[in-house]
Amino acid sequence: MGEEPKLYDVTVVWDPNKGGEVQLEGKSSIKVSRPKGEESSPELYTPEHLFVASVTVCFMNSFIYFTRRMHIDFKSFECVGSGTLEQIGKSFEITKIEIKSRLVIDSEELRSKFERALYLGAKYCFVGNSMKSSIAHENEILVG
């Protein structure tokens, strides 16, 4: 990893007929909507989902990064993120995010190494560390 700041550019366009769209150069667009109200569409992503998704995906990437550094391989990994939006004073905030992961590994001997990779993955999750929200982790490791 270099020391240079990294820039992330996105464009969001609202078309009164077609609704909102997140555009990322060279990547798929994401159609977005409000969670409720006249122009909301339940089949589209909301900014709240994108926020919770950003930390959940970042945790996975960060965990993978540490497994590579530790030279350990896993069989499967999945995690579920749940964010809670609450009123704080006059406005709303996502106050907490719970991330539950389920990891399948080859042998019991590697368990403690994977526990360490999950711990470091959470500790160095860039996106999680950029949020005010409290982030709680619950990890399950299965041998199979």
Binding site: P5, K6, L7, Y8, D9, V10, T11, V12, V13, W14, P16, G20, V22, L24, K27, S28, I30, V32, S33, R34, G37, E39, E43, Y45, P47, E48, H49, L50, F51, V52, A53, S54, T56, V57, C58, N61, Y65, S76, F77, E78, C79, V80, G81, S82, G83, T84, Q87, K90, S91, F92, E93, I94, K123, Y124, F126, V127, N129, S130, M131, K132
Partner: protein, 144 residues
Amino acid sequence: MSEESHEYHVRVDWTHNKEGNLIVDGKPEMKISTPPEFGGPDGIISPEDLFVAAATACLMTTFVTFKEKMRFDFKSFTCKGKGILERVEKGFQFTRIHLTTTVTVESEDLVPKAERAMELAGRYCLVSNSMKCPTEHENHVLVG
């Protein structure tokens, strides 16, 4: 706005290497990965993209909420978001988000309303309010 709280659930399934799928009930599945600058492939949405997209899309949806409260219409809305990820003491963190917004309205008399709605959207954007880093706004309201 009411006192109620809301929950947002997302799931991430690892597929291979540094890639996985983002799954949210009832919404399109999205391929996600580590970004190229951290050893991931090109052209796939990263958590860093999602983080900046969440703030940018939230400004849009909050603006739409205020324009409804203020009962006026706009012709177009484009917001360009830039997130800056920098190395801090504990790994990387987003240190700043810059949002440049252009709103087009039908007539000159709607300009102050649109400006006010943009200002309120910036203040009440719940995603930005859930982030540690400051969000800078640059708003342009055009008649066209």
